[in-house]
């Protein structure tokens, strides 16, 4: 009778999942006959009330949610067991306000354009720098309004994957 809670990162919708027995699961108090098979560690075939869903689930590189794909739609889902929530509660406050303050290179390449300098204010969506890799120019944009605290690279520098590029404030 294990219980889970999920949270859709985009829609903020919360769902409650309870395994009632080996064939029946309840989602938000509605019961489903279910069956499943992992076709691969990241691909699960789900059958709920005889309806098929082939769902892929992956860890997201940098966030605590999973990338869930069904049909042509992507969902960002946080899944927690009752125990997880308890642990969260006890440790709450400790990591409060933790945010991404560093921008790392997502792949090896060359910085072909550097648009910011230390101390500069940037707006959400602004292109901070351009990384050329795999024959393509990739724009790295600001995810929110912020100030550039540190610039770790120069134009035309080659960078490795996960190399620190910028520190934000």
């Amino acid at each position: 009778m294990k219980k889970y809670f999920t949270n859709n990162f985009d829609s903020k919708e919360k769902d409650e999942i309870e395994f009632l027995n080996q064939n029946i699961v309840s989602v938000n108090k509605k019961e489903y006959d279910y069956d499943y098979k992992f076709l691969n560690p990241n691909v699960v075939m789900l059958r709920m009330n005889d309806k098929n869903f082939i769902v892929t689930v992956s860890d997201n590189d940098e966030e605590e949610f999973y990338d869930v794909n069904l049909g042509s739609q992507m969902y960002k889902i946080v899944a927690k067991s009752e125990l997880d929530l308890l642990v969260d509660k006890m440790s709450s406050g400790k990591n409060e306000g933790r945010e991404k303050k560093e921008i790392y290179s997502p792949m090896p390449g060359i910085i072909t354009k550097l648009n910011v300098s230390e101390g500069q204010k940037v707006n959400k969506g602004e292109v901070l720098l351009v990384l050329e890799a795999m024959k393509m120019e990739n724009e790295i944009k600001a995810k929110k309004d912020c100030v550039i605290k540190k610039v770790n690279v120069t134009e035309l520098k080659s960078v490795e994957k996960n190399e620190l590029l910028l520190v934000l404030d």
Partner: protein, 502 residues
């Protein structure tokens, strides 16, 4: 016919060339970089030689090394595929000098058509329309104004020393010409130290339409119809189709004859593609000739029944074209989608990593060309194209429906892909009506995309939530079990009902 050829390329196009060569009883020689030691094309070829490190410059672009391997292996000819050395006249010349047949046009035709200016002059000489404009850089104000009037507005001012959009200006009407010209020249002067400019007609919302041609070494040329390649993002084609919805029989004949004239005049042989831009009044202008096989060649193959690689090999070995223009029969409608490793939701950032699961279901009317297998790595070294899906139906509507079904049933895990983006594009009103152009994606589609998240029904929502929970549970089981027993099959840990949840 050749007994053995070398393929100076990698990935899906190397696989494509190897299959046709094998069908013709020709032995195949692959060359591979460190990264490609066990890639599909390198396994499929009869022989495979290591030519260097993973970066192209240290392997697939090493002309001397490739020539050396060709001679060592006893290959008689080299197929360059697309990209890499395929449009480099010097490589075609090196092949010739080393007694190897280059499977493509002669180096003189490559160099001639490789020069934009010379190709434009050749087109004009042969009554092939080009975008009206000046051929020489100009300084003089009033002269420019007069020419602009002749061409007709809107016009485009381009700094002659510029590039990549710098020093470019669109002028919509004569009233703006003076100020725009002044600004463009000032910008050009300060950026490049040279204030001379070209002007040409500005084509709004242009379509990119290209014609496939085949030419033998005896002056016989046929065209195999057009390909509509206007679905582009940053000049990268994403979806191609044939026929083009704007094409009628007369226009196809006219453009096809233009294409034939220009390659004939260039002394061209083998397969090639003549590219045009077409304005909103269906006036077409010659753009350039791609002197090699195109990525999107399969749509022409499916619509005409020809095997273009087979034809290339026949032509290069000195055979005459075995058919005439009137024997080319077009049938049905064909579409290609390029599945790429990129994150459409994050500015199309290329996505690298290992493909841990890859599954298609093709059935009636579908074809897939790929050089990737499950378990392969997508690296930073080469382009991010994973696969080309090609659909073929009696009508355009059927071809679209087949493509959408196949994309929905296509599963790819381990990297991000543009499959959802392709589906969105195919479902756009503009694609369905055929009313799109090369700037459609960037100017119209992308902005609209983020705002349209479709709502989720109760069942889908439940499935998504449950899948996330099962995934979490399996992950923790896996950590507990550590390595676990090794299973050889593709069907990993199946949770049979008996061993299911408590």
């Amino acid at each position: 016919m050749f007994k053995k050829i070398l393929i100076a390329n990698r990935g899906e196009i190397a696989v494509r060339i190897i299959t046709s060569a094998k069908e013709m009883g020709i032995k195949t020689v692959a060359v591979y970089s460190d990264f490609d030691r066990y890639s599909l094309f390198a396994k499929m070829a009869d022989e495979a030689y290591h030519i260097g490190e993973s970066p192209s410059a240290k392997s697939y672009l090493k002309a001397e090394k490739i020539i050396e391997v060709a001679k060592q292996s006893g290959a008689e000819a080299i197929h360059p595929g697309y990209g890499f050395l395929s449009e480099r006249g010097f490589f075609a010349k090196m092949c010739e000098e080393n007694g190897l047949k280059f499977i493509g046009p002669g180096y003189k035709a490559i160099d001639l058509l490789g020069s934009k200016t010379e190709a434009k002059i050749l087109a004009l000489k042969n009554n092939v329309p080009v975008v009206p404009g000046t051929e020489k850089p100009l300084h003089d104000f009033s002269l420019i104004k007069n020419i602009a009037k002749d061409i007709g507005y809107p016009i485009l001012i381009k700094a002659s020393a510029g590039g990549g959009g710098k020093g470019m200006r669109i002028v919509k009407e004569e009233a703006d010409i003076e100020s725009s010209l002044r600004m463009a020249q000032n910008e050009a002067k300060s950026s490049f130290g040279d204030d001379s400019v070209f002007i040409e007609k500005y084509i709004e919302s242009p379509r990119h339409i290209e014609f496939q041609i085949l030419a033998d070494e005896y002056g016989n040329v046929v065209h195999l119809g057009e390909r509509e390649c206007s679905m582009q993002r940053r000049h990268q084609k994403i979806i191609e189709e044939t026929p083009s919805v704007i094409m009628d029989e007369k226009m196809r004949n006219d453009m096809g004859e233009c294409a034939k004239r220009i390659v004939k005049a260039a002394g061209y042989s083998n397969a090639g593609t003549v590219e045009f831009i077409v304005d909103t009044n269906n006036k077409y202008y010659f753009l350039e000739v791609n002197t090699r096989l195109q990525v999107e060649h399969p749509i022409t193959e499916m619509r005409t029944g020809f095997d273009l690689v087979r034809e290339q090999l026949k032509i290069a070995s000195g055979e005459k074209l075995s058919f005439k223009q009137e024997d080319v029969v077009f049938k049905g409608h064909t579409i290609e989608c390029r599945i790429c490793a990129e994150d459409s939701e994050n500015n199309f950032m290329p996505s690298t990593g290992k493909i841990t699961y890859m599954k298609n279901v093709l059935s009636n009317g579908m074809r897939e060309d790929t050089g990737i297998e499950q378990g392969n790595e997508i690296s930073v070294y080469y382009d991010p194209m994973i696969s080309k899906l090609i659909s073929n139906g009696a009508t355009r509507e059927i071809a679209i429906e087949k493509m959408k079904r196949a994309l929905r049933d296509y599963k790819l895990v381990g990297i991000k892909s543009n499959i959802a983006f392709l589906l969105n594009l195919l479902e756009s009103e503009e694609y369905v009506s055929g009313n799109y152009h090369t700037q459609f994606i960037e100017k119209e589609f992308l902005g609209r995309l983020s705002s349209q998240k479709s709502s989720t029904d109760e069942e889908t929502n439940a499935a998504v939530a449950l899948a996330a929970v099962l995934f979490k549970e399996q992950k923790s089981l896996k950590i507990i079990k550590k390595a676990g027993n090794n299973s050889h099959s593709n069907n990993f840990w199946s949770n049979k009902r008996t061993e299911s949840y408590r």
